[in-house]
Amino acid sequence: MKDQALGPEEAKKIMGTKGQVKGTVFQTDAEYIKRKWGPEGLKRVEEKLMNLGYPIEYKNIKALEWYPLGQRLLSLLATKESLNLTDEDITLMGNTAPKLSFIIKLILKSFVSVEVAFARAPDMWAKHFSVGKLESEFHGKEKYGWIFLNEIELHPLWHKYLEGYFRRIAQFALGEDAECVAPDKPPRDDKQHVFKIIWP
């Protein structure tokens, strides 16, 4: 993905993205940034967002409140830019997020198998996002599964984040190293996004 400096015009366009997200997502972002880059790292991200005209005070975010989805995207983009991250770093951020999220781990405690994980994935999405529908298909014998995110605009950077995120959920359930690979199935329309999880 070609990196373009995030400016106020682009930020305004992103804030127009439809949908809402639970505050807990921002709290997880903040915890990750603080653990890797310290409070100074989080401050840099906050300053970037302030300069764009869409400030986020992460310490005041309420876990259960709904926030604009555009703000979630800006949080990711500002993190990438102000901390000089690559797309792979963002995927790693997504991969680490479930480790830091209490709610996810609470749900994961009941994931006694990868099949259960795939079955529960749609509920997990709906708990955090007001847009998009997650569907999953589990193919245990062939050792892969599909995750379809439908009816949603997905920013490419967010796609990168989710590759890591879904991979970690599968890893927790599998006890082995799962991968999120490029899907060999095309999306049915431009509002569907496909993720393929494979495992050995």
Binding site: L106, K109, G175
Partner: protein
């Protein structure tokens, strides 16, 4: 369902979510406070959560421990089945001596304790594992051993000296008797 019922349901759900997050805060505080290194393990043997004490003991960041297999952090691979399988079978393990590796690969001797958790259907959904650091206890044992050795050595010296004194007194008495004088120490020969 009427609109009123739906609203009641949504309010109830919101209340439950609020309580859940409050519970999260409570549990997070406990896991930051409790001084015993602990983790939560899922049925696949993966670490799902750890407390601050374990992070400090091993010198490994939480995000590097969570998601990794417990077996990876034990100094001998053979002990993992004892911990994992016995916990799932018997519900617990108590005072099992083992070693755990810190971030630099050094072995820390520990006693392992576990307690399994089950869901309402009786399925194992994971277990808590606690590690009691044995280094202080072993160090104290070593120190006591050293002190005992020193005491034994001192005892040997003291007793030896005492015995030599007794022999000397007997000799003196024998010499006095030879000289026709009364014995001074009255030690029996």
């Amino acid at each position: 369902m009427t609109a009123e019922d739906q609203q009641k349901q949504e309010d109830a759900l919101q209340l439950m979510e609020a309580q859940l997050f409050e519970l999260e805060g409570y549990i997070k505080d406990i896991w930051e406070f409790i001084p015993i290194p602990m983790a939560y393990i899922n049925p696949q043997g993966l670490i799902l959560d750890i407390d601050t004490a374990l992070e400090k003991l091993l010198g490994i960041a939480k995000e590097d421990l969570v998601g990794s297999p417990l077996q990876k952090h034990l100094s001998t691979k053979e002990v993992f089945p004892k911990i994992h399988n016995n916990t799932l079978k018997n519900g617990q393990v108590s005072n099992l001596e083992s070693g755990i590796l810190d971030g630099e690969g050094n072995e820390i001797p520990v006693a392992v304790y576990t307690m399994s958790r089950k869901d309402e259907a009786g399925n194992h959904v994971g277990y808590f594992v606690a590690f009691s650091d044995l280094r202080a206890l072993r160090s104290m044992k070593e120190q006591i051993k050293e002190k005992l050795k020193e005491l034994e050595a001192f005892h040997d010296v003291a007793v030896g000296r005492e015995l030599r004194m007794i022999d000397t007194e007997k000799e003196v008495d024998a010499l006095l008797t030879e000289l026709g004088r009364p014995p001074k120490y009255r030690r029996k020969a």
